[in-house]
């Protein structure tokens, strides 16, 4: 029985892991190739590895600038998101019965309204009314539209796991409701809040449609738009450089995802479906 189960586990998991992760292996191999050899069929696997493309990335492109831009937007969006979503997530978690659940699902559904539906009207608003065309602030203003519903949903799941008795005890001891929120609920929820920070930040690092619509100059681009649009010289793609540019943010993100995965699942599935 145990043997059969192991056979099933490894027989399924290993081939799929290879299949899903192989693109990253090939990216890594390509990133070490000299640019002149990427198309050489005799040098597919055997070549003299070089870090030249990483040097190119850091010294001759806007790559570092794009990372800074993405981090700038990411940090501000995370702060706005937490400030708005933490109180709302808490209130929805404690509103028992139909009202709380329906509102929770309602807010979650707004997360599903995609950028591809809203980018045209928002491009008008950004250009005409806010005068933020080609400014990173445009992204800071717009990104909370999807990070806030997402964060509220996760936080709702986390706050539901905190026993009401804990707060009642604080109230009995003379704490105000807001006081118990700030002194009891939020401190206990730090791991959950950290999960929200990480996944909100990664939503920002992933966003493409708004960034390509609102930002027009190379120096103001964010990472996900800069790499696909500006690492092309003339008509030539600098493939080793592009592969390095993909791997540098991907690997740390994947490590953090793995570390926080269980908490993410708890929050995601705990929102209103339990």
């Amino acid at each position: 029985m145990a043997l059969r189960r192991n056979l099933f586990t490894y027989g399924i998991a290993v081939p799929f892991a290879i299949l899903l992760a192989f693109p990253f292996v090939w990216m890594f191999v390509t990133s070490l190739k000299p640019e002149a050899q990427v198309y050489d069929p005799t040098k597919t696997w055997s070549f003299h590895p070089t870090l030249a493309s990483y040097g190119f990335l850091f010294h001759h492109t806007n790559y570092v600038r794009w990372i800074e831009n993405s981090c700038f937007v990411g940090v501000l969006v995370v702060l706005i998101t937490l400030a708005v979503a933490m109180p709302a997530g808490y209130a929805l978690a404690r509103l028992s019965g139909r009202v709380g659940r329906t509102m929770g699902v309602g807010i979650f559904l707004t997360y599903l309204v995609p950028p591809t539906l809203l980018f045209l009207p928002l491009s008008r608003v950004i250009a005409q009314y806010l005068h933020l065309s080609d400014r990173l602030w445009a992204l800071v203003v717009v990104y909370p539209s999807f990070t806030i519903p997402f964060a509220i949903w996760l936080l709702m799941g986390f706050f539901k796991t905190i026993p009401q008795e804990l707060e009642d005890a604080a109230l009995v001891d003379g704490c105000s409701r807001i006081g118990s929120l700030v002194r009891i609920v939020f401190p206990i929820s730090v791991p959950g809040i950290l999960t929200v920070v990480i996944f909100t930040f990664s939503l920002v690092i992933n966003e493409f449609v708004y960034a390509i619509t609102f930002i027009s100059s190379a120096a103001n681009r964010t990472l996900p738009v800069g790499v696909p649009t500006d690492l092309i010289r003339g008509d030539l793609f600098n493939w080793p450089g592009i592969m390095g540019a993909i791997l540098i943010p991907s690997i740390p993100l994947a490590l953090v995802y793995n570390a926080f995965l269980n908490r993410f699942i708890a929050g995601f599935t705990g929102g209103a479906f339990r």
Binding site: Y10, V38, L120, P121, V209, I246, F273
Partner: protein, 310 residues
């Protein structure tokens, strides 16, 4: 809450007072979020509907009311009708692949075993990496001259070096490539949620079904599957929305080509609205994403309702 207070008789006055205070507090805590969402999702959504009835363009910002002209034009546009079909094709096929693969992987990964951390890490990579970046990577894997897939196919003597497939160059291949990438990047998320669904089944249920002699596929079909279905369906609905409304994969891989054979609702709305500057018409095109959203929204509310009953 008022009924609860009334049921408790003599203390009802005090309780109602507290309940009201709680209500006020809740409204206070939720309102900033509601305002934010109304301003950034609600208003643009209404504006998108309004714009679709105007001839707004990059030159004339507000545009004039033109009634249903935009809709009439796009419904007679073969490229647009193609994009509806392509979007459905991409979404349904890729998500069918996702359900099968993720179901298998989730059942393999749910138990503890040696090397689980590493395998889980590798399987999650496509989800954790920024999608616009990895799609650029796929552009390289599909390169007509240096495609690594072709290298494998040639080495395995499946294709000859002289007739290597051009992955993004023909309509069928391009669509297959896009579907592959969409499945590749959605599988990890589905795996994660499926695992949550499987592990939400209480151990007692497993024990009881073991006593009743249910094993293997029978147990899966009659016991495990129905119990994990609600959470799994949420993952599937999610996958459908994100694939149908995704622009990144088709935009970077083919940008609708060759010959508009992979034009999606999203890429066509972008091409029409931003590149060609016909904002009204672009808005009309993008509104055709709403039915997908509506179906998924109804599905989600249905499951939230069911969770409430049980």
């Amino acid at each position: 809450m008022a009924t609860v207070a009334a049921a408790r008789g003599s203390r009802s006055g005090r309780l109602r007072y507290v309940a009201e205070r709680r209500g006020v507090l809740a409204a206070l805590l939720i309102s900033p979020a509601v305002l934010f969402i109304a301003a950034l999702v609600g208003v643009p959504l209404v504006l998108a509907i309004y714009l679709s009835f105007t001839n707004a363009s990059a030159g004339s910002i507000t545009g004039k009311w033109v009634g249903l002209a935009n809709f009439r034009r796009i419904l007679h546009d073969p490229i647009f009708r193609g994009s509806l079909w392509h979007t459905a094709e991409m979404t349904l096929i890729s998500q069918a692949i996702v359900v099968v693969c993720a179901g298998l992987i989730a059942h393999a990964l749910v138990h503890k075993f040696r090397g689980r951390w590493l395998l889980r890490f590798l399987i999650l990579l496509p989800w954790a990496a920024p999608i616009s970046l990895t799609v650029i990577g796929f552009l390289w894997f599909f390169d007509p001259q240096a495609s690594i897939w072709n290298w494998f196919l040639v080495k395995a003597h499946i294709v000859s070096p002289l007739s290597k497939p051009n992955w993004l160059g023909t309509p069928t291949n391009a669509m297959a490539s896009i579907i592959t990438v969409q499945a590749w990047r959605t599988i990890p998320f589905a795996v994660v949620i499926f695992i949550a669904g499987i592990s939400s089944i209480p151990q007692e249920v497993n024990d009881a079904s073991a006593i009743d002699g249910a094993t293997g596929l029978r147990k899966f079909w009659h016991v495990s599957l129905p119990l994990q279905l609600p959470i799994a369906l949420v993952a599937v609905l999610f996958g459908i929305v994100f694939t149908a409304t995704d622009m990144v994969v088709p935009y970077i891989l083919t940008n609708g080509g060759p010959f508009n054979s992979t034009q999606m609702i999203t890429t066509y709305a972008f091409t029409t609205g931003i590149n060609a500057g016909n904002i009204g018409e672009g808005a009309a095109i993008s509104l055709f994403l709403l039915p997908v959203l509506a179906i998924v929204a109804i599905g989600m509310l249905f499951f939230a309702r069911r969770a409430e009953v049980t």
